[in-house]
């Protein structure tokens, strides 16, 4: 199969997966969902490692290292902050039993 068509196929199918997966989410989780999705595109770090690891010019190296730092902040920060938020959601159940405010 033509290389370009392969990528197009994968792209199109991923679009459907992305939309279908999200279309059921309740608004309760919109904030963590946004930050979780945000963390996923931090995977550009992988690209940054690949280009930086194959460069030989100093300028390019510096630019590459900057890209790595930025991408890592995106990826790591995104996953950590999402986890922090979700932890709070999980904690709620037992809290309610203790209080019985309802």
């Amino acid at each position: 199969m033509n290389e370009g068509v392969v990528w197009l196929t994968i792209f199109v199918l991923s679009v459907f997966v992305g939309i279908e997966v999200i279309s059921k989410v309740s608004s309760t989780l919109h904030t963590p969902l946004m930050s979780g999705a945000n963390a996923i595109h931090g995977i550009i770090l992988l690209g940054a490692i690949l280009v930086t690891g194959s460069t030989h010019s100093t300028v390019a190296l510096v630019v590459g290292l900057v890209a790595i730092v930025l991408a890592t902040v995106n990826m790591v920060g995104g996953f950590v902050v999402t986890d922090r938020m979700l932890q709070m959601f999980v904690r709620k159940k037992p809290a309610s039993e203790k209080e019985g405010a309802r």
């Binding site: 904030t31 931090g42 995977i43 690891g53 010019s57």
Partner: protein, 471 residues
């Protein structure tokens, strides 16, 4: 690339799908996020294993360490009220990284092409035109996302005004930059050079700034979500350029789901995305005038409200944007606990776009350890207002404004609202008579059954708490 690496990349991509799937339900969300993190870590570890001569490994690891420290520090320190700007910041740096990666890849492509040309012989293109186009896309849109996100960050962090910034030449500058971006993109395809790439980057940065400047404060979350989707698409394009499935699938997932989420949010606000982005540009600012009304209202002190609440059987709390601003969620929760102990049934009515970000109220109240079952979504609680003794509206306004149902011309007309007006008594906690985000008056404030408790939400709630305890 060995086959096993490709398979592992595919498995990581599946991890991202499972992460998104998990994030869409409260029970599976945390596990989903951890799966996504694991997939990302495995994916990023692969080059160190399979790439034959990976250069600069110590420097790369150092940069990763710096980034990790920064990311973890930011993620740990940020307050829940500041989530929107945090997401904006993380999104911006991701977009910036994508643009830089594409610039480096363009440089690499030019080197390869030059080496090929130096061999002499018939002209051969090492890369198809579509690869150049994708590179240009990543550089431009990544820069837009970077600059735009930084401006939204500045707006939300109040480093600059959060009102729309408009100046006379704006539409012209906007159009000019867009045209410039297109021309430079075409040039990248026809006659690429690193200078053109850098130019595209700069135009993208300026365009990003101008795109976000005219957007008003409360519209910013939509723009963040949109820029998030943009960054996803740039990462996908980067995946195509680097022939990496994981980047392609991961980026596309975020691009598609982000776009969908943006539309979902815009619909919940009864607005169109175009209107949010270009409303100010087209002339009329989307933000209302913000003038305080001087019609008479009934205001009361904390003690009066305490009596109202203390002897009610059924109370519903409507938290809003002002609760986030005042960071009053913990005090509010204490009040609810005390009322609960007195035998009052209390729930929180959560409007989907209350606060600064969709679902923001849920996060804030979760942080304050409000039990999950007390948070009731709009559709589920709207029928209960008519059996409610007191509705306590804390720093909310538009989400209970009956104009959404009654006034066809109003900017929020058609937005579903919480039916607070059906309750027996309504108490508003706000600082002044200024309108909410939409800039229109709220008739409910002047209703005979409404009482106003003026002051900062945190302070007022503190006084109210003491007064209820003293009952």
């Amino acid at each position: 690339m060995p086959t096993w690496v490709q398979v592992v990349y595919l498995i990581c991509a599946v991890g991202f799908i499972l992460a998104l799937k998990g994030l869409s339900g409260p029970k599976t969300a945390r596990r989903g996020n951890l799966i996504g993190a694991a997939a990302a870590v495995v994916g990023c570890a692969l080059p160190f294993i399979y790439v034959d001569h990976l250069e600069h490994v110590p420097l790369i690891l150092g940069a990763i360490a710096v980034g990790t420290a920064g990311g973890v520090f930011g993620a740990r320190k940020v307050q829940m009220t500041q989530m929107p700007q945090m997401v904006a910041l993380f999104n911006g740096v991701g977009g910036g990284a994508a643009a830089l990666v594409a610039l480096l890849e363009l440089n690499h492509m030019l080197d390869v092409q030059a080496a090929l040309d130096a061999l002499g012989g018939p002209q051969v293109d090492a890369y198809g035109w579509f690869v150049y186009a994708a590179t240009a896309f990543t550089i431009f849109v990544g820069s837009v996302s970077f600059a735009g996100s930084l401006i939204t960050f500045a707006k939300l962090q109040e480093l600059m005004t959060s009102r729309p910034v408009v100046f006379p030449g704006l539409p012209v500058a906007f159009g000019g930059l867009l045209l410039g971006g297109i021309v430079l993109s075409v040039l990248t395809v026809t006659s690429a050079s690193i200078g053109i790439g850098i130019g595209l980057c700069l135009v993208g940065l300026l365009f990003g700034v101008l795109l976000v400047l005219p957007v008003g404060g409360a519209d910013v979350p939509i723009v963040i979500s949109l820029l998030n989707a943009f960054t996803g698409l740039t990462v996908a394009a980067g995946g195509y350029v680097l022939s990496n499935t994981l980047l392609l699938v991961g980026g596309t997932l975020v691009g598609a789901s982000g776009t969908f989420l943006t539309l979902l949010m815009a619909r919940a606000m009864g607005r169109s995305v175009a209107n949010i982005l270009f409303g100010a540009l087209k002339g009329g600012s989307t933000l209302g005038a913000g003038v305080a009304s001087d019609r008479p209202v009934r205001s009361a002190g904390p003690e009066d409200v305490a009596i109202l609440l203390g002897y009610a059987d059924r109370v519903i709390i409507v938290p809003g944007y002002g609760l986030a601003v005042a960071q009053a969620q913990h005090t509010l929760r204490e009040l609810v606990d005390v009322l609960g102990e007195r035998g009052t049934k209390v729930d929180y009515a959560i409007h989907p776009v209350a606060g600064r970000m969709p679902g923001h109220m849920n996060v804030l109240l979760a942080e304050a350890q409000v039990p999950y079952e007390q948070l009731v979504e709009m559709d589920h609680i709207n029928g209960e207002f008519k059996n409610t003794d007191v509705v306590l509206v804390v720093g909310a306004n538009d989400v209970v404004n009956p104009a959404a149902k009654t006034t066809p011309g109003a900017p929020i007309y058609g937005m579903p609202i919480l039916n607070a007006d059906e309750a027996k008594q309504v108490v508003f906690m706000k600082r002044s008579m200024r309108p909410g985000f939409a800039g229109i008056e709220n008739e409910l404030l002047f209703d005979p059954k409404t009482t106003l408790l003026f002051g900062d939400a945190k302070e007022s709630l503190g006084k109210l708490l003491n007064a209820v305890k003293a009952l």
